[in-house]
């Protein structure tokens, strides 16, 4: 006799992590992309890491990468690939913040969340980013999730 297939439990933790990381990147990207890039370029100056000529291009591109990746992750589109992109971004942010702390640069606000989000100091942002890295890594490892565009693309409604 054929054994019944094991009942698959919904991974609510994974869905929560995907929604949280996705939403946060939407806020982060939108709050910068919705405003002229000069203000974000000015925050980047504080890191004393990039040549002047790079600041405006970074300030124009990064918010869009954050916004689109966040929206795709929240919608559950290409989950594994997008989680991988966000893991890369988060790792770069983490290293940048650590270099600020190591060089004793006094930044009152990391500028991570533009005009809308919380104003974190580099130390607070380092801890917060680490939590995001763990969540994004979990989503990367377990990308097959219900309530996602990927599920709809694969199976239909």
């Amino acid at each position: 006799m054929k054994k019944p297939a094991p009942v698959q439990r919904t991974d609510w933790g994974g869905i929560g992590a995907r929604a949280f990381v996705g939403f946060l990147f939407i806020v982060s990207g939108y709050s910068k992309a919705a405003y002229p890039p000069e203000a974000f370029a000015a925050s980047l100056e504080g890191y004393r890491l990039f040549p002047d000529a790079w600041l405006m291009p970074i300030a124009m591109v990064v918010p869009w990468v954050e916004l689109l990746s966040g929206a795709y992750l929240l919608a559950g589109f290409n989950i594994r690939r997008v989680a991988g992109v966000l893991l890369g971004l988060l790792s770069v942010f983490e290293l940048t913040l650590m270099s600020v702390i190591a060089r004793n640069i006094d930044l009152a606000n990391c500028g991570c969340y533009g005009a809308y989000g919380p104003h974190f100091t580099p130390r607070q942002a380092t801890v917060f980013d680490l939590a995001l890295i763990v969540m994004a890594f979990y989503v990367y490892l377990y990308p097959r999730q219900p309530f996602s565009l990927d599920a709809w693309i694969e199976k239909g409604i």
């Binding site: 919705a34 405003y35 370029a41 925050s43 589109f77 709809w152």
Partner: protein, 209 residues
């Protein structure tokens, strides 16, 4: 089946991206009117009919604004007679005493002493930021600046003083100012002391041609 999946993938990717682009485009539509000196004679320097208008949105409690001050002053010296500079209040929410400082400067402006108070507030930023009694500290600065003490004290809490500061903040919001200092050279935006130093002279030169 595979063709259907490919079509769904393309459609989903496009729709999500289109939604993001539309949301940003809607936010970035300009709500600002033409940049003028708004008749702010008491907070302006340079000839009224100057070819180039410099408008700075600033916050007296912001360290970057203090760093930007000598850079802006150098620009005004370099282009003396050719540019008009207007100071606009933009006290940031994260600076708990910036709005009080803006009110003090506004009251000094009403006695024709805005620049004296402006200089004191930036020179002594650390002092009043940490002062236990802010009112007494500002009263002392008013005396140093040669203001009438009674009029100054009465002015601070008057509704029209507050509305003058609020009007500047509203106009800054309409111009999508999010950080200080933000200097507009004509309509071109520069954020932070370094951008003002690096790109300010070039933009002024371009507008003077």
């Amino acid at each position: 089946m595979l063709a259907t999946q490919k079509a769904r993938r393309l459609l989903s990717g496009f729709l999500v991206a289109a939604l993001c682009v539309s949301a940003v485009a809607w936010s970035r539509r300009s709500r600002a009117e033409a940049m003028t000196d708004s008749g702010l004679q008491s907070r302006a320097k340079g000839p009224a009919g100057a070819k180039v208008l410099l408008t700075e949105f600033s916050d007296f409690q912001c360290p970057s604004c203090r760093y930007a001050r000598p850079i802006v002053e150098e620009l005004l010296k370099q282009y003396d007679g050719k540019v008009r500079f207007v100071f606009r209040h933009y006290p940031l929410n994260q600076h708990s005493r910036a709005r009080d400082a803006a009110l003090a400067a506004e009251c000094a402006a009403r006695q024709g002493k805005f620049w004296a108070m402006h200089d004191l507030l930036f020179d002594k930023q650390d002092e009043w930021t940490n002062a236990p009694d802010l009112g007494a500290q500002f009263a002392g600065y008013a005396q140093t600046a040669g203001l009438d003490a009674g009029s100054f004290a009465a002015c601070i809490s008057r509704p029209d003083t507050m509305s003058a500061v609020d009007r500047d903040v509203r106009e800054g919001d309409a111009w999508q100012v999010t950080s200080t200092p933000t200097l507009f050279v004509g309509h071109r935006r520069l954020a932070g002391a370094r951008q003002i130093q690096l790109y300010g002279p070039g933009l002024i030169e371009t507008l003077l041609k």
